[in-house]
């Protein structure tokens, strides 16, 4: 079978949001030739998304055609992994919620004596957060500066608070919790050629209008400058045993009978997320690197991180109209910046409109059947009081044994062992878990009382074994003995290998990580870009 050879200055492996950011920055600001290699292909094209949305709403059909590759899946955790492999990656169907981490997230050991400090500070990342927000298009409200520090304003005004959310904001304010519009990668006004949001309310899983950012937009805009190599699964990176430099990558076409592809580049950027990035490094073990590439520390695949949540539904004596903008929420960072703590607990807090407990039913409490107008009357009666959905993600410190390993019992079509994921809390988080979750339930009860309301349901994360918004597996640090990459994402062991975004996380804060993945991708691209001549006319 003929081996296809692809060459470029920079080869980015993976095409999710981190890869999109890195590719855009390198292509627009340097003279480097850039290719992006993706195991999957393009998914549902924009002109088909209205129909795809309708089918999802009516039947639950996936609106994202061909968004994963057969037999390319992770095992071992009931929650925390999505198998999407497509141009744009998992961010093709993200919720587009884009909070920043707080300054404390980068200094947990120094401030609270738990976990590990990052080698970078919030201030280091602030310009890249800003750049990510501008490239993606983030609509956000400036929270109180003490809670929500940022160097520059958001690129777009916030998504307006719906009638429901404004009532709920007044309620939380009475309880002493300051909340504001959740920053979101959804256009509150027309932005960079994309329309303003029409609150279709299906942001997750699909925006039919393009008002929500998805990475395929970036690749489409870059099509003359970035080579997109699709249906190509990178299976091994090869390092020179003397210098440690990555010489090339071996790949196979995921169609066309698995035809081999060899990728040669001066620099490789691994931007394949928290699962496939360490997985590829472990798969690439050779005689000189028996533990896998970039793994002198033995930490490739270790310290997978994420967080959990506690949620509640609160009935309030106020009429709400759920369905106005269900996916938009209030948020606060009040509890992410708690100051000095006797016991460690940091969390965010969100509030949404809800229709919990208001669903139509055909029998009442006594078991009597309800048909016709009796059913409608019963339904109406239960809509008269509003319900708020509350959720708090709380910080979980990862254990070293929170890990990705190769599972020889499960292989893909090429015979490669697939990843096995195991999430584990560090001992300090194990010890704090019950108290943390009860503290959050206390907060919910306090909020309910402040609004003369009642907690009608409370639950801890269903994802008891997995974690949400995961990252890690190639954590960053200044010491090669305790980290895989440096502060710029460069592998300690391979001077031309960079790892970008989610896998470089040291810990995963207590909010969505995607904006931070993107910012880290830009920071890595900025460092890598210094290896190339700047373009005369950047973007």
């Amino acid at each position: 079978m003929t081996r296809r050879i692809v060459e470029s200055d920079v080869c980015i492996i993976g095409s999710g949001i981190t890869a999109a950011m890195a590719a855009a920055k390198l292509a627009q600001e340097t003279n480097a030739s850039v290719i992006v290699v993706e195991a999957g292909g393009a998914t549902t094209e924009p002109r088909m998304r209205t129909r795809a949305r309708a089918r999802w709403m009516e039947y639950g059909e996936s609106p994202w055609a061909n968004d994963h590759v057969a037999a390319q899946n992770a095992h071992g955790t009931p929650f925390g992994f999505s198998p999407s492999m497509t141009v744009g990656g998992l961010a093709m169907h993200w919720g587009a919620v884009t909070p920043r981490y707080s300054p404390e997230d980068f200094r947990l050991r120094s401030l609270y004596g738990v976990g590990t400090d990052w080698p970078i500070s919030y201030e280091d990342l602030d310009p890249f957060y800003q750049e990510a927000e501008e490239r993606i298009g983030v609509a956000g409200a400036q929270g109180p500066p003490a809670m929500d520090p940022r160097g520059k304003p958001f690129p777009m005004p916030p998504l307006p608070l719906s009638h429901n959310l404004e009532l709920l904001r007044q309620w939380t304010e009475r309880a002493g919790v300051t909340m504001w519009s959740q920053p979101s990668a959804k256009n509150s006004v027309p932005y960079q050629g994309r329309a303003a949001c029409q609150r279709c309310d299906t942001c997750y899983p699909i925006c039919p209008t393009g008002a929500k950012y998805a990475p395929d937009v970036t690749f489409d805009a870059l099509k003359d400058r970035v080579g997109l190599v699709t249906h190509t699964l990178v299976r091994r990176l090869h390092a020179d045993p003397r210098t440690g430099r990555i010489t090339h990558a071996s790949a196979n076409n995921t169609r066309e009978g698995g035809a081999p592809v060899e990728i040669r580049a001066r620099h490789f950027v691994l931007a394949a997320g928290f699962t496939w990035s360490p997985h590829l490094l472990l798969l690439s073990a050779d005689a000189a690197h028996p533990q896998g590439l970039a793994n002198r520390s033995g930490l490739v695949g270790k310290y997978l991180c994420g967080h959990r949540n506690v949620a509640a539904q609160v009935r309030l004596p106020v009429q709400l109209f759920p369905g106005m903008n269900t996916q938009h929420s209030l948020v606060t960072k009040q509890f992410m910046r708690p100051g000095k703590l006797d016991r460690y607990l940091r969390h965010d807090l969100r509030v949404w409109e809800s229709s919990f407990g208001q669903d139509p039913r055909w029998r009442d409490e006594s078991g009597a059947p309800l048909f016709g107008d009796a059913l409608l009357a019963d339904w109406r009666r239960r809509t008269r009081q509003g319900v708020a959905r509350l959720r708090a993600y709380y910080d979980v410190i990862p254990a070293r044994e929170s890990e990705l390993t190769l599972d020889p019992a499960v292989t893909n079509g090429f015979g490669d062992p697939m990843p096995r994921l195991t999430f584990r809390d560090a001992p300090e988080s194990v010890a704090l878990r019950s108290w943390s979750e009860e503290s959050l339930r206390d907060l919910f009860r306090r909020l309910a009382r402040a609004g003369d309301g009642t907690v009608i349901s409370s639950e801890s994360a269903a994802a008891d074994i997995g974690q949400e918004h995961p990252g890690g597996g190639c954590r960053m640090g200044d010491d090669p003995a305790t980290s895989v990459v440096d502060r710029d994402g460069r592998a300690h062991d391979h001077e031309n290998l960079f790892i970008a975004g989610a896998p470089t996380h040291v810990s995963a804060s207590c909010c969505n990580g995607t904006l931070t993945f993107a910012a880290l991708g830009l920071m890595t691209a900025a460092r890598l870009g210094r290896e190339y001549r700047a373009r005369r006319t950047p973007r």
């Binding site: 169907h93 719906s162 409608l376």
Partner: protein, 199 residues
Amino acid sequence: MAPDRRAFLAQTAVGAAFVAGGGALPAPAASNGQGRELDPRLLAALADAVLPESLGATGRRVATMGFADWLARYTPVVEEMHGYGYAEITYTPSDPAPGWNAQLQGLDLLASHSHGRPFAELDIPTRREVVTAALDRAPARLPASPLGATHVALALLAHWASSSEAVDLAYEAQIGRGNCRVLAETTRRPLPLAPGGTR
């Protein structure tokens, strides 16, 4: 598109015209090109028994035709949305039509056994007794989708209740759930429904 599917859509269009004009509607047809049919007479009789009287005859017919159209366009064993964080790939269920048809026939049999007349010839309270007996221990809450229903009566109700129009009726306000519209409108309290429960 198969000819009888086109015929069905044409009939739906006729139905819409009748609604607009306030005229009487023909009996709903529930057929499609794949042979996925529900007995139209029994389905209409069931709809009259379980859907709100306040929808009026035309409203119930429109809801019934919407359900039939939904069923006609259903495709079994299509990949479902894999939820965020979940690795398992799942598929839509097999064709529910044969089971639902059997349940409609079951209502007719039960009516004949217990009341000596076909289901469609019973008065509304008696039809409801028969439906209640058939539903047995089905969960009180309507499923979010007809595909989650254990009985065709609940599937019909679930299809209607999941519509934006039904939600507006329940909240007596023009929420327009699931409908794309201007972002700025979201800041205002939804307008009340017009008299008669319309937008």
